[in-house]
Amino acid sequence: MSILIDRTKRVLVQGITGREGQTRARLMQEYGTQVVAGVTPGKGGQQVNGVPVFDTVQEAWEMVGALDVSVLFIPAPIVKSAALEAIDAGVKLLVIVPDRVPIFDVLEIADAAKRTGARFVGPNTLGVLSPGKAVLGMIGGRAASARSWFFPGPVGITSRSGGITSSMAYYLAQEGIGATTLVHVGGDVVVGLPHPEVVKLFQSDSETKAIVMFGEIGGSQEEQVADLVEADEVTKPIVAFIGGKAAKSGTRFSHAGAIIEGNRGTYKGKVERLREVGVTVVETFGELPQATLAILKKHGISL
């Protein structure tokens, strides 16, 4: 198994006729994702790489049947409207790729999603990839690269950084450790599926045996994961690395979510809290593969 995406999921691409949407839809298809429809208002009737384009999500649903996932390649100012459209049409999982979505728009999307039982990954996410199965968004770039970098295995990967999602999976793969699914939760302060939610999904996935997490300074996602471990809601072993040790309070290093405000969200606080509940936290990123190998061995998990 895997979480969030596999070959059976029927995927819609919103913004499929745009520069990024077109390219990414093709790369997703090449990796194995079932892209069944695209939507761009005013461009209904066209085809992109053999995928039919519709004017509205509702129309796409009516014409091609139920849609499990929508991936959004939409300019930030109109993401809210596109996301609400997908949620209203009944799509239960959204992957919101764009960066710079206004925070109150994200809150409105989160509210609408909660009301209908929908979920969203992002915004500002590279996406989700289940090795050997399918990809949502743009993890891995070219399908050939993604195929050579990642393979299936027992580890679930969750990261607040897009680039690190790929590099964690790659460096683990170099040590022979494969993954069920890679999730880039997104770099913003408020994201739809933060670490604790992803970790819960991995907990209930039968094939995921251990979890590797890339945390960052700022916010409270890593502390919430510690709370889940403490409450025994998550029992699978977790190996974590927290980025941003060097950051000054109040200075943002690229990810909007990675800003320390007052004493909240510090490197030290996160590491201590995670260690307190028994999570393995490595000091340098380079130690991650070996630490993961050791944990898998300790728990008798085969590669």
Binding site: F104, D111, S161, G163, S220, Q224, A246, N263
Partner: protein, 510 residues
């Protein structure tokens, strides 16, 4: 987050009918005096700077006469407070304080909603108050659809034991504060303290409002120059970098200066990251080697070569750096040769005179590394490039070794200058760049390498010379993606007839 000054924040509060003391901003002692005369009686003169603890620093002064207000303004204006040069003071009527409260709206990542916080004790920081007097502080998650209802606000006030008319007016103030936060897309909006006077009136005595960077475009009326959080005014280079970012939507470009006024030999590194997480790890790797970072840069999200070029030029404008370190996540989804071409162009024009280590792991990394290595002969300082199997720690170690063994040239070598084209064919690009192909050189070119390497494939041979196969207008609208192949590939593999001028307004002045 784009922070507003106190006087800017107060004008938003006033507009929402939250009472603020009589007064306004002044930029000279004369203006301060005139304001004090208009207000009448005792006034307070406050430095407008985004720092805490202004009173202890002598940047808030209470005075009784307009003349004294002018003197206080003259003392405060021009002060350096924690690296911040004060150019504005606020002059306000002095309040008689009977009691102080705190109110704030913040965005809570865990509840994915705005949260209103109220404290029956105000004055110091809310974290401190909450720690010392947990019973004094109440909070409520706000339903984004309904907003903060009047009854919810009043009940929040009731929970900390406040009743009667005071409960009504504080409740009113809370709903108005949330209105301001929502209307202006505030990441945080705090009034601290709210002052209750002996006459029973409430005033917002101080406020801190920060606007969501991503929503600044919706509020041109706020006049925010740079939608970025700074704990000081932006530097000249940061303003230049912001213009580059603002005028080019393709990919991310983020630049902040961490150190200034340093000299060679102090161990300052020009840092060029790609991707937030990889950048932070790479920074840690450099810092662990005992170096300091002059700046932080992130070019990621599939930026064009031109953007990476401009970022590199801006980094190199910090003249005292001892090394250049470029490193991202290591396994980038974007095609890395774009970045390599951008770096090579910058390193040749503003010739690199400090060692550089470039970690280019990801898609097409072999090609990217080959582009870097090929340029070494044209660049005075040593460059090493690495791929995804080389860790940031290893790369930082290599940079350390290169710096230890490097002797900076005593004379700064001149950058590459392109000869005057004999038969120029030109077109413009989307960021006001100009591509010049010297058809005189192209005629003699054996490889015509620009045709094959042009990423969007917009050049075709016509009579032995490259011409656009789209219109000049299409090229200008973004058909030319500024991949820089027709300059860099042509320089090394062709007849050196291609040149792309990419302006960076203001950089020559720095």
């Amino acid at each position: 987050m784009a922070r507003l000054h106190e006087y800017q924040g107060k004008s938003l509060l006033k507009e929402a009918k939250i009472p603020v003391p009589n007064g306004g901003p002044a930029r000279s002692p004369e203006e301060a005096k005139a304001l004090a005369e208009e207000i009448g009686g005792a006034v307070v003169v406050k430095a407008q700077a985004w720092v805490t603890g202004r009173a202890e620093l002598g940047a808030i002064r209470f005075v009784d006469t307009p003349a004294a207000a002018a003197a206080a303004a003259s003392a405060i204006l021009g002060m350096q407070i924690k690296g911040y040069l004060v150019d504005t003071v606020m002059v306000e009527g002095k309040l008689d304080i009977k009691r102080e409260f705190y109110a704030g709206v913040i965005i809570d990542d865990q509840s994915q909603a705005p949260v209103i916080i109220f404290s029956r004790i105000g004055g110091s920081g809310i974290e401190e108050i909450a720690e010392k007097y947990p019973d004094a502080v109440v909070r409520l998650v706000i339903d984004i659809q309904r907003g903060l209802q009047d009854h919810q606000a009043r009940d929040l006030i009731r929970q900390v034991g406040l009743h009667g008319k005071l409960q009504l007016s504080l409740g009113n103030l809370l709903t108005r504060l949330y209105g301001v936060a929502r209307r202006y897309d505030a990441r945080a909006a705090e009034i601290n303290p709210i002052v209750l006077t002996p006459e029973g009136k409430l005033f917002a005595a101080d406020c801190r409002i920060t606007i969501d960077d991503y929503a600044v475009y919706r509020h041109p009326e706020l006049g925010i120059e740079i939608a970025r959080e700074f704990d000081r005014p932006p530097t000249e280079l940061e303003i230049i970098a912001w213009q580059v970012e603002k005028n080019d939507y393709r990919g991310t470009f983020y630049f902040i200066q961490l150190e200034r006024g340093f000299s060679p030999g102090e161990g300052m590194i020009g840092f060029h990251g790609a991707g937030g997480g990889g950048s932070m790890m790479s920074m840690d790797a450099v810092l662990n080697r005992g170096y300091k970072l002059a700046n932080f840069v992130d070019t990621s999200g599939n930026p064009p070569a031109s953007k990476v070029y401009r970022a590199a030029r801006i980094i190199l404008a910090q003249s005292g750096i001892d090394g250049y370190f470029a490193s991202g996540s290591g396994v980038a989804s974007q095609e890395q040769f774009h970045s390599a071409r951008g770096l090579v162009k910058a390193f040749m024009e503003h010739p690199l005179t400090v060692p550089a280590v470039i970690r280019l792991g990801g898609n097409a990394e072999e090609r990217a590394m080959a582009i870097m290595e090929r340029a070494q002969g044209e660049i005075p300082a040593p460059i090493e490039s690495y791929g995804k199997d080389d860790s940031p720690e290893f790369c930082a170690e290599r940079l350390d070794t290169l710096i230890q063994n490097y002797r900076r040239p005593t004379m700064k070598p001149a950058g590459k200058v392109h000869p005057e084209p004999q038969d120029p064919y030109t077109f413009e690009t989307v960021t006001n760049g100009t591509v010049i192909l010297d058809h005189a050189a192209c005629l003699d070119c054996e490889t015509k390498i620009c045709i094959d390497t042009c990423v969007p494939g917009i050049l075709s041979l016509e009579g032995e010379v490259p011409m656009l196969n789209i219109t000049h207008e299409q090229a200008k609208r973004g058909g030319c993606i500024e991949c820089l192949a027709c300059e860099i590939e042509c320089y090394f593999e062709g007849n050196q007839g291609g040149h792309i001028i990419l302006p960076i307004p203001g950089l020559d002045r720095v």
